[in-house]
Structure formats: C-alpha cells, structure tokens
C-alpha cells in the first residue's frame, strides 16, 4: 500500500510549522522582535527566544528592529536559564564587539547583571531546539501512520 503522504494532514501541517520555525530562525539572525506585559516579556533574536521576568520594570511594550551587523552569531547556541545574582560583580567594560560575545549566553549574562534586579530570570530557547521538538514527534507520527496503513490494508 502506498503511503499517500500528500493526503496526510500531519504531513502538511508539520511542514507548515517547520517552515515557519525556519523562517523565524532566519529572521532572528537579522532582526530582533520583542513584546512584553507587566514584568514578563519575550525577546526574539540571535537564533532563539528569551523569555524573561524583570521585576524592575512594569510596562506593556512591542519592539522590532535591525540587529547590529557587527554582532557575532552562534550557529547552534545552547539553551540556558539565568538568574540575577546580587553577589556577582557587574562587568562594566563589557565589549560589545569582542570575540567572546559570540556566545548568546555571554550576552544574556551581561544583560541580566547590568539591567535587572533580584528576582529577575532569563530562559533562552534556541530555534534548533524548537525545530527538533517539532520534527521528532512529526516523523514519529508519520512513521506510525505508515505502519497503521500497512496493517489495515494487508489482510
């Protein structure tokens, strides 16, 4: 029995979602987009999304703009969770264009120590992880579908 993938909703919706994630990934390498409400917010840039809580501000906002071209970009940044640490020294002579900042985590550490207060946290989720989280269940579902079809058709 043929797979007839073109008649599968799972197949097309998965492609659609993954296409969107790929577009978002690409977009995050050249633009930054963000929105927030109250103490919470999300910022989309540098190959992933940062979800954060910042008790020092309270506002509703939307933001979109071009990234600095000089900013180095990591191909597969690692996911991470950061918390504001009051005991850590603040790094005031941080070099925006220095070689170390190729790591997204480095940038986020700088941001949380410089601009936030106790209770602030960052959660960074890279796009490759989101893509993987969609692609794996999707291929599993396609696989089960093919097995199901084989069983039902073959007597």
């Amino acid at each position: 029995m043929k797979l007839a993938l073109h008649r599968s909703i799972i197949f097309w919706s998965g492609l659609f979602v993954m296409g969107f994630v790929c577009w978002a990934w690409w977009d995050s390498t050249r633009m930054r987009s963000g929105l927030g409400m109250g103490h919470y917010g999300a910022s989309h840039a540098l190959g992933g999304i940062v979800f954060f809580n910042d008790p020092s501000t309270y506002k509703t906002w939307f933001d979109r703009g071009k990234l600095r071209k000089t900013f180095a970009l990591e191909t597969l940044p690692a996911p991470h969770v950061l918390k504001f640490d009051p005991d850590r020294e603040r790094n005031d002579d941080w070099d925006m264009d220095g070689p170390e900042n190729a790591r997204v985590r480095y940038w986020n550490e700088y941001r949380i120590q410089c601009f936030m207060i106790k209770g602030a946290w960052f959660l960074f989720i890279p796009h490759w992880l989101i893509l993987l989280a969609v692609a794996l269940p999707w291929s599993a579902m396609i696989f089960w579908r093919s097995r199901r079809r084989k069983r039902t058709i073959t007597p």
Partner: protein, 195 residues
C-alpha cells in the same frame, strides 16, 4: 382643529425647516465631538500612564498632561535597556505608569515648550541643576519645563531637541476650528434659507 390648521400652511413650514441648524445631521459636529472626546481621554490617560513610541533618533511620548516629541540627536546614548539585545535602530512602542520618581510638580495647564541644548536659558538651567543636586525628597518637585531643561542638560547633544505640546492646547485648537466650522455652516444655511 389644530391639526387642520397645521396642514393648511405647508409652505411656511418648509421655510422654517431650512432655517433650523439640524446639528445632529452634521458630520463636522459629530466628528468634532469624537476627536475632542478622544483628546479628553488622552489628557486624562497621560496623567496616569506614559505612552511611548520610538524610532531612533526620534521619540514621542504622551505623559504629564501633554505630548512630547523629541530628537535624541546625532549621537544618542543608545538604548541602555536590556530589551534591546545588540543596540540597533528599531521601532519601539510601550505603555508604562507615568514616572513617579521624576514626577513633575502637578500643573493643571503646563505651557508649551521647545528647547535645544544650546538654547537653554543659562540662569534657570543652573538653578534647576543645583536644585536637582541638592534634592533630598522624592518625588522631585519639578515642572515639565524644568524636566525638559534637566533632560537636555544631561543627554542633549548635537542636533537634539524636545518639543512639548500640552493636551489643553491641542484640545483648544481643535475646539476653535470646530466652532469656526460650525459657525460657517450656520451662515451657509442661513443664506440658503434666505433664498
């Protein structure tokens, strides 16, 4: 009998009819009310929240009873906010509680203001700066004008300026135009009726 009388004089009646203003059928009347209603709301809203829009080097803000429009100049300080990963030119919209620490001395009708850093009144600017350095109370007792002076003293650079237009002035301007248009309409109608 009364009813019969009325029906007996139709020409008289149409004439009276044309003389009436019939404001409820005027687009000017209703759109003016709508715009002024919005302005009154915006005025009230600006006393409790700050609504901001930014596109470097320009920024706009409705707060403290008026609208600010500014240019942060040739070499802006940059977005010293965690919201903007690598500094860049961007659009930004936000709404937040009106600043309390820098809260101005409440003024019911603040005057319109326009300043460039090089055009600041020297004596007043010095006095405001000293008052700011000596301050030991918060919120700081500054008027909108003094806030603008302080801001330009601190972050003003080549090409920067700040314009403040109070909401009462915007409302007054719209109301004046609205009344003028309605008066014009009334005179047109009177002329048409006289024909």
């Amino acid at each position: 009998m009364v009813r019969h009388d009325l029906l007996a004089v139709p020409p008289q009646k149409t004439h009276d009819h044309a003389m009436k203003q019939r404001l409820h059928r005027s687009i000017t009347f209703w759109s003016g009310l709508l715009v002024m209603g919005f302005l009154v709301w915006a005025w009230w809203d600006s006393e409790r929240l700050s609504s901001n829009a930014k596109r470097d080097p320009y920024w706009g803000r409705s707060t403290w009873g008026g609208v600010f429009i500014g240019n942060s100049g040739e070499n802006p300080l940059g977005d010293l906010s965690f919201l903007s990963p690598p500094p860049s030119r961007s659009w930004n919209f936000s709404r937040a509680p009106a600043t309390e620490v820098l809260r101005h001395t409440p003024e019911a009708f603040p005057p319109p203001i326009f300043f460039r850093p090089e055009g600041l009144p020297a004596a007043e600017s010095e006095e405001v700066l000293n008052r700011w350095i000596d301050h030991d109370v918060e919120p700081l007792p500054f008027t909108v004008r003094e806030q603008v002076i302080l801001t330009l003293r601190y972050v003003g650079n080549d090409g920067s300026w700040i314009l403040f237009v109070p909401h009462w002035l915007i409302l007054l301007t719209v109301a004046a135009v609205w009344i003028a248009l309605l008066l014009w309409r009334a005179s047109r109608r009177r002329k048409a009726a006289a024909l």
